[in-house]
Symmetry: C2
């Protein structure tokens, strides 16, 4: 039970009722024996400023920030990490005596989630689906792992162009191509790539019948196929890629590691998850998704 020394964490978003973050973080808090609890707060866009100021005034220990607040929140804090300044998004707020500090742990979460596959990304070419905030974080993570060429597949050209320029000008990609979802050249780009990453919400519940890629004929066992979506655990995108022999991974581990990274920022401590614990946590989260 909370006492006067119990720390309070939470996630703010709208909607936030189906967020896995409370389950994830309360699991961490218990595992690491921290006197703290983690809540979900539904905050509508008009109240974001009041929320950030109020959370600081009340001495909340930290907040995660999810859609639709990840970009807007950057303007509302006193301190920003270099990655927040670079990417223009934040998902982690730390309430410090001097003011609120913003961080973004999605890139570190992505990198930690593909840790065993990291050599594959060195000098790699990657097909990236999406051009929003998640895609930007993934592109940054890919650049840190040594990716050199990117194919951005997106429905709207303008957003893709914006991300494309960011990738060449700020992230050092050697070459960035932009394709529409049904571009005939897409299969050639897939054939030349080592990895495919879905950073769109296509395939996410309740629209589980959709895939960001309509034709899997170019996908093979040479590919690592990654879906940031974790609900459902098996999206059409991953199922079809698996059928073609690709190595596949969903977004659960990225969720886990970005959360762990947030906790490390808040507590100024290092925490680790053993392999068998990671498996238990995946199952715990998947079970929650189905309930």
């Amino acid at each position: 039970m909370p006492n006067a020394r119990t720390k309070l964490f939470g996630v703010i978003g709208d909607p936030v009722g189906h967020s896995l973050s409370p389950v994830l973080h309360n699991y961490f808090l218990k595992k690491y024996k921290l006197n703290a609890f983690y809540f979900a707060f539904r905050v509508v866009p008009a109240n974001l400023g009041a929320c950030v100021q109020g959370a600081w005034a009340m001495g909340l220990a930290g907040l995660n920030v999810t859609l639709p607040h990840k970009e807007k929140v950057v303007e509302l804090v006193k301190f920003r990490s270099p990655e927040v300044n670079l990417l223009g998004v934040a998902n982690t707020l730390s309430m410090r005596e001097e003011g609120v500090a913003a961080f973004v742990t999605d890139p570190a979460g992505f990198i930690a989630s593909v840790q065993p596959m990291q050599p594959l990304f060195r000098e790699s070419r990657v097909v990236l689906f999406g051009a929003g905030g998640s895609a930007r974080s993934v592109a940054y993570a890919l650049s840190k792992m040594g990716s050199r060429e990117l194919t951005i597949v997106n429905r709207t050209y303008d957003r893709a162009l914006h991300l494309s320029r960011f990738c060449t000008e700020r992230l050092g990609f050697r070459k960035v191509s932009i394709l529409g979802m049904r571009d005939p050249a897409l299969n050639d780009h897939i054939l030349g790539a080592q990895a495919l990453v879905n950073a769109t919400s296509i395939g996410m519940a309740p629209y589980v019948d959709y895939s960001p890629l309509p034709d899997f004929s170019a996908v093979s066992q040479n590919h690592f196929v990654y879906d940031l979506v974790y609900n459902p655990v098996w999206t059409v995108f991953l199922r079809e890629a698996k059928k073609k022999g690709a190595k596949v991974q969903n977004g659960l581990d990225m969720l886990i590691y970005q959360g762990l990274e947030s906790l490390q920022i808040w507590m100024n401590e290092t925490y680790s998850i053993a392999r068998n614990e990671l498996n238990a946590l995946r199952i715990h989260l998947s079970t929650e998704l189905q309930s």
Copy 2:
């Protein structure tokens, strides 16, 4: 563990580290099987406005308000109960979709705490120590129970005069006297009174050797002597009165009942405590005080 539907309550104050409210309310929340937790938030006066707006923005379910915010908070809310308007203090905020509503549950807490003694207060004369916010709440509660005459004992005359006017003009007391703590007339007033109530913080830890009344010679078994202080459970005021044969009561039950009243406001539900449960709760709270 909290999930996305867990309600969040808390107390705001400065200091708030030794507040019993988290212990009390988490006991209630568990007892009544409510999916909710209660925290302590230290909020400095300069941040009170940001806190109230932020708590509303984040959809906290409710807050208790303690020193030094009980008066200031009244100006910061959208809705006020008639008692808040009358007394100018609030200790309970309910976050409603349309805005924050303020209530004061101290008077109801006082009345519930003396429930078996209520006939004694009808047409009574009471010696009240103190002239601050707590004394005002007690005076109001006394008036609701039918008290007709009040002797206000206070260190500063101006505050006593202010409360005195309030008692005659707004609460309908027939007669209100003002005495200093060492006024020779005090013993006569005690002899003519049925009850003595300490609504000052004199005798509260860590100043446990002090008493609002220096001379107990006029106190007898005819008196009901009540101390709003509950830390320590036995103040000098109560110990000395007990020695003179008076029936005595400390502030624990008022704390319990004002908290229960707050919970009823927040949940829009009625809750009760059986006699044996009340005893268990008193012991639970007293144990916490000593730890």
